[in-house]
């Protein structure tokens, strides 16, 4: 039942706007402007964290542990006397440094699998669809936990498990788009002119299906940021002392009766980040391809 919706998308979704014009339209909508501003702000923090942060994120100062906000430490300190603001600022690098490669890997893997399934069809298609169904039989967080139980916790492994659990979403959309594109007259014409499978897929199908996948990538980024923070919060993701927001939340949770500041500030920056990316992603989708809203997928947990 999903396929026809996606097919329609690619038909009407052929609006190839230049990048600058897309940006202008996104910024012209309140939600888009808000999301764009937040995301640009975060990217600036990612780029200039060492210059902005008042302290080294791992610098300990036991005599100043568990302090509330003050002139010396704007958001206070944690149980090892580390400056909370500095850790949160450096945390943007962990959040985006995990989420972006993870969704990009999911897109590439999903694209390859989806194109193979959609283009070749037949038994290979059936087999790949069953595999996708099986991966999606597990809620994303639960699949991530299963894989991390054998892989062990580390930043690299978090990227891997997020990529694996997000990939079937891209594979499904890529497959549906290939199925519709390969019926198009221009593809038929190419084939009649003697183009091989490689040329048809690489030169004619791929450029026509890639845009919707990048929109999905933009919309998946906040979900991936949330999953990383969540797994790190549970202690199975990024490990201390790396300043992942999930790690900061977990440390803060242990000490929440002494000081609420770590939990409050990490929660706030995480909420603003996911909100900003979501608003930007959704506006981008509405601008580039209004019909794509039919392809909303479900991120679990």
């Amino acid at each position: 039942m999903e396929a026809p919706a996606v097919t329609r998308v690619s038909r009407l979704g052929g609006r190839s706007l230049p990048g600058a014009k897309i940006l202008k339209e996104v910024a012209g909508r309140p939600a888009g402007l808000f999301g764009l501003a937040l995301v640009v702000f975060l990217l600036l923090i990612v780029a200039f964290a060492p210059q902005i942060a008042p302290y080294e994120p791992s610098a300990q100062n036991i005599t100043e542990r568990l302090q509330g906000p003050s002139g010396r430490h704007l958001l206070g300190t944690d149980e090892l006397g580390r400056d909370l603001l500095s850790r949160l600022l450096f945390g943007t690098r962990i959040a985006l440094g995990v989420a972006f490669p993870a969704v990009l890997a999911a897109l590439v893997a999903g694209l390859v699998v989806g194109m193979i399934a959609g283009y070749l069809g037949g038994r290979i298609d059936n087999a790949l669809v069953v595999v996708m169904d099986t991966v999606q039989a597990f809620p994303a967080v639960i699949l991530a936990l299963a894989l991390l139980a054998v892989l062990g916790p580390s930043l690299r492994n978090v990227i891997i498990v997020i990529a694996v659990s997000f990939a079937p979403g891209y594979a499904r959309v890529a497959r549906a788009l290939v199925l519709s594109t390969k019926q198009d007259q221009f593809v038929e014409a190419e084939r009649a002119l003697g183009a091989g499978d490689g040329r048809i897929v690489g030169v004619h199908i791929l450029p026509n299906i890639i845009a919707p996948l990048f929109i999905l990538l933009a919309m998946d980024l906040p979900a991936a940021i949330t999953v990383e923070a969540g797994l790190s919060f549970l202690g199975v993701g990024v490990q201390p002392p790396t300043p992942s927001w999930g790690v900061i939340l977990a440390d803060g949770f242990d000490r929440v009766r002494d000081t609420p500041w770590p939990v409050l500030s990490a929660a706030l920056i995480l909420m603003l980040t996911t909100l900003g990316f979501t608003m930007l992603g959704e506006t981008l989708r509405d601008v580039v391809d209004p019909k794509l809203s039919g392809v909303r997928r479900w991120r679990r947990g």
Partner: protein
């Protein structure tokens, strides 16, 4: 016909269930190296290593192990806890009710708040109420369950000391159990309240734009009757379709909420067992969640098809 579709769908589900079992059976072998070390880590004692090797039958061939796990799982045998030697199914049986109650309560709360919010907003598009509810919805959607849980814990359990912060209470004391359930339920439901509000608003607006609604209003039926009796009945159908996915999402999100509020559910069981490297429990509990997720999706899919005559007809012609 729907009967044939039903049969195909069930058959497909069975295949996915078997493959899920096989996947969990082969899981330890997906990582290179000695599976005992994969499970227990490099510094495990000799005696524990021997126990694990014997318990998980790691000396036999990999296909044999996958077969044994799958057949065992089909017969309701998920192996034994390495430490207590209790059957994994016993531990899951103790934890599962707490998770199910939490997930169902959250889904119920989300429907109870999200649907009316969406309907009310749709009857007044672009009003102040609609605008505010849209901002609230997207904020709730992007609020991760563990962030919501931590904030609720901080405010209501620690600052205001109104509700308990730890544990689930006992089923024998329903009032106390309900008190323990409130904060976790709200934390888990938040995303879905926003989500359902948005979904219902969109589908309500779509239905309200249709001819039969215009006709009903033109012949003088009261707005209340048109909205709630005619429009809502059709607008609610897409919501039913997502409830199955919703239950699965909530089982995933329940992990965080259970850990934060120290509820002895499946999520806590999984996280604790990953920490203590008690692999059979991790594997068994994850299988049970996957089975529930698949079953919920199947149920939602069928009820969706039964509710919507247009799909029944389309299914027939296809």
């Amino acid at each position: 016909m729907i009967g044939r579709y039903l049969l195909q769908r069930v058959a497909m589900t069975m295949i996915v269930v078997l493959l899920s079992m096989a996947f969990l059976g082969v899981l330890v072998h997906l990582v290179p190296g000695d599976p005992v070390k994969v499970i227990l880590g490099p510094r495990a004692s000799e005696s524990l290593s021997a126990t694990v090797r014997a318990e998980m039958d790691l000396d036999s061939s990999v296909p044999r192990q996958v077969w044994n796990f799958t057949v065992g799982a089909l017969q309701g045998d998920l192996g034994e806890d390495f430490v207590s030697r209790l059957p994994v199914t016993t531990l899951i049986g103790e934890a599962l009710p707490h998770t199910l109650v939490l997930a169902v309560a959250s889904l119920g709360l989300a429907v109870l708040l999200g649907v009316p919010l969406g309907v009310y907003a749709a009857t007044r598009p672009n009003s102040w109420f609609d605008r505010i509810s849209r901002v609230v919805s997207v904020s709730l959607i992007t609020l991760p369950a563990f962030v919501g849980g931590l904030l609720l814990l901080l405010l209501f359990a620690i600052r205001l000391d109104m509700l308990p912060a730890i544990g689930a209470g006992e089923f024998s004391d329903p009032v106390d159990y309900a008190r323990h359930l409130i904060l976790p339920t709200v934390a888990l439901a938040a995303t879905w309240i926003g989500y359902l509000a948005r979904l219902v608003r969109t589908s309500m607006l779509e239905v309200l734009g249709q001819n039969y609604i215009r006709t009903s209003r033109a012949v003088g039926l009261r707005d209340r009757v048109v909205f709630y009796k005619y429009a809502l009945k059709n607008a609610i159908i897409p919501t039913v379709a997502v409830l199955g996915v919703g239950l699965g999402n909530l089982m995933g999100g329940a992990v965080f909420v259970e850990v934060i509020f120290t509820r002895p559910g499946l999520g806590t069981l999984i996280v604790d067992s990953i920490e203590s490297r008690n692999f059979p429990i991790v594997r068994g509990a994850i299988l049970v969640i996957a089975l529930l997720f698949v079953a919920a999706n199947l149920a939602a899919d069928f009820s969706y098809r039964l509710l919507d005559p247009r799909i029944r007809v389309r299914g027939r012609s296809a």
